[in-house]
């Protein structure tokens, strides 16, 4: 029956069109979701970059103050040498060796500033008050910056392990973020704080 076929064609056509529209809508929605996720990931990566920059700055500050104190003549020669060695090594360390070198510096600082008397001796000399305060601030801020960095790394890793990110390669070429692990315990005499 030709009449019926002629009437059926527009209906079939409309069905196809609406199916197509739905497919397009779904694709756009998926695309938007993926784009949003990519934006989220991007933000996490830049958060890691910022946290890493802050951590680098704090580590460098700590090593500089330690080196300054080591060369100032305030400390006894043995302590000066130990501290200078560790601070120098921390500043010069290559990337793969950095965590070990910074941990060594933490240990050296703990060895030198293990007692309150040593800190008081530093504070007693002219300009020593400032140096001691800067060092106390640096040994306090390194663990802070490291925690913020590793927190960002954990958040990014959690998202990057997700299926949608792996399948659609949303992370692009960004390297898989690594935590910065080191011994950052502050010398007791410099950090009289609860917790942390």
């Amino acid at each position: 029956m030709p009449g019926r076929a002629a009437r059926g064609a527009p209906v079939a056509c409309a069905t196809v069109t609406s199916t197509l529209i739905w497919i397009v809508v779904a694709l756009v929605a998926i695309g938007l979701y993926l784009s949003w996720t990519a934006g989220r990931l991007d933000r996490l990566h830049s958060r890691i970059d910022a946290a890493r920059a802050a951590l680098d700055a704090q580590l460098l500050r700590r090593a500089s103050v330690a080196q300054e104190l080591a060369t100032s003549g305030v400390l006894d020669p043995a302590a000066s040498m130990v501290l200078y060695e560790a601070a120098h090594a921390a500043r010069q360390a290559e990337e793969d060796n950095r965590e070990v070198a910074e941990s060594d510096l933490s240990q050296a600082l703990r060895a030198v500033f293990g007692e309150v008397q040593q800190v008081e001796a530093v504070q007693a000399v002219p300009g020593g008050e400032d140096a001691a305060r800067e060092l106390a601030q640096a040994v306090r801020r390194v663990p802070m910056a490291r925690r913020f960095h590793n927190d960002a790394v954990r958040a990014a890793r959690a998202l990057r392990r997700h299926r949608k990110v792996r399948w659609f390669r949303l992370a692009g070429h960004a390297p898989f973020p690594l935590a910065f692990e080191m011994d950052d315990e502050a010398p007791v005499a410099l950090a009289d704080r609860p917790g942390t």
Binding site: R52, M144, D151, R154, P194
Partner: protein, 389 residues
Amino acid sequence: MRIGIVCPYSWDVPGGVQFHIRDLADHLIDLGHDVSVLAPADDDTPLPPYVVSAGRAVPVPYNGSVARLNFGFLSAARVRRWLHDGTFDVIHIHEPASPSLGLLACWAAQGPIVATFHTSNPRSRAMIAAYPILQPALEKIRARIAVSEYARRTLVEHLGGDAVVIPNGVDVDFFAKAEPKAEWQGDTIGFIGRIDEPRKGLPVLMKALPKILAERPGTRLLVAGRGDEEEAVEKLPAELRSRVEFLGMVSDDDKARFLRSVDLYVAPNTGGESFGIILVEAMSAGAPVLASDLDAFAQVLDQGAAGELFANEDADALAASALRLLGDPARRAELRARGSAHVRRFDWSTVGADILSVYETVTDGAAAVAADEPDEPGGLLARLGLVRD
């Protein structure tokens, strides 16, 4: 530095978080920083000049009690306007995981965000359900602060990641220099807290009181705080009721004088505490402290070195410890001395410097990244890995 602080709870209602934010803002302003606080408040409440109202908080049932929260379209718009007008270097959000201003600010803010987690609530069902929505907002937080080791543990368990511990601050000298009041002195036990809230522990203290009075009939219990006084003494034998004095709500000055005067401060709280600022205040004022052995309290009291602990909810243990302390002036003097020395680390000079350290660590990093990395070209295509370089 331009600092924006977000307070999730109503400014009209006194509470630990609100006081903390008020003192923090005062401290930062004294140091010369530019501070603006966004807080829910009724329109007719007088506000300090640095507080911006985010509108009235709506009481809604949440997490087992009625909480006054801000949410919805209008609040979100106010948050966005505040963020836009403020151009802050750093935004400090308190309680970002509660469905109020904190979460809205976290959602809308762009720059470096610092967040303080005050409570150590077990993860609520609402939070589990909202987790996929919450996570992207919480991911923006660059630095997390927990108010105690206990709060940090709960945070790590529930949300993963890590946080630094910075305790709540107290103006130690304000309490240390307060004038004792004669009528509150002489064999007195002090309690401050809401009377009708069982978790503040007044019922435990009331249960212990007959035992204490049996041995030391001259002892008086002074209670400062709101609530139904009749109901509080209901369980107490009628002849002992005169040994309990209710002072109602006290002003900050009277609170300091109160803590300076009492012979023993008792904190019988039974749970739900993540810090215990009142213990720090009591120690600042030189009051010997006897507290229940909650995790948070044990930490504030240096595991019992700066104040004594008794087994939580155990009225007999409370009575025994209180009697021993009241009968031993030497031990109380020792606790006073230890408490006063211990409490220095909670002074705003220390706590404020730590919080500023966090701000500076976060903004340092952000500035470094902004400087050496202009907007990357490519946008979506680059993110999808479709651009070859």
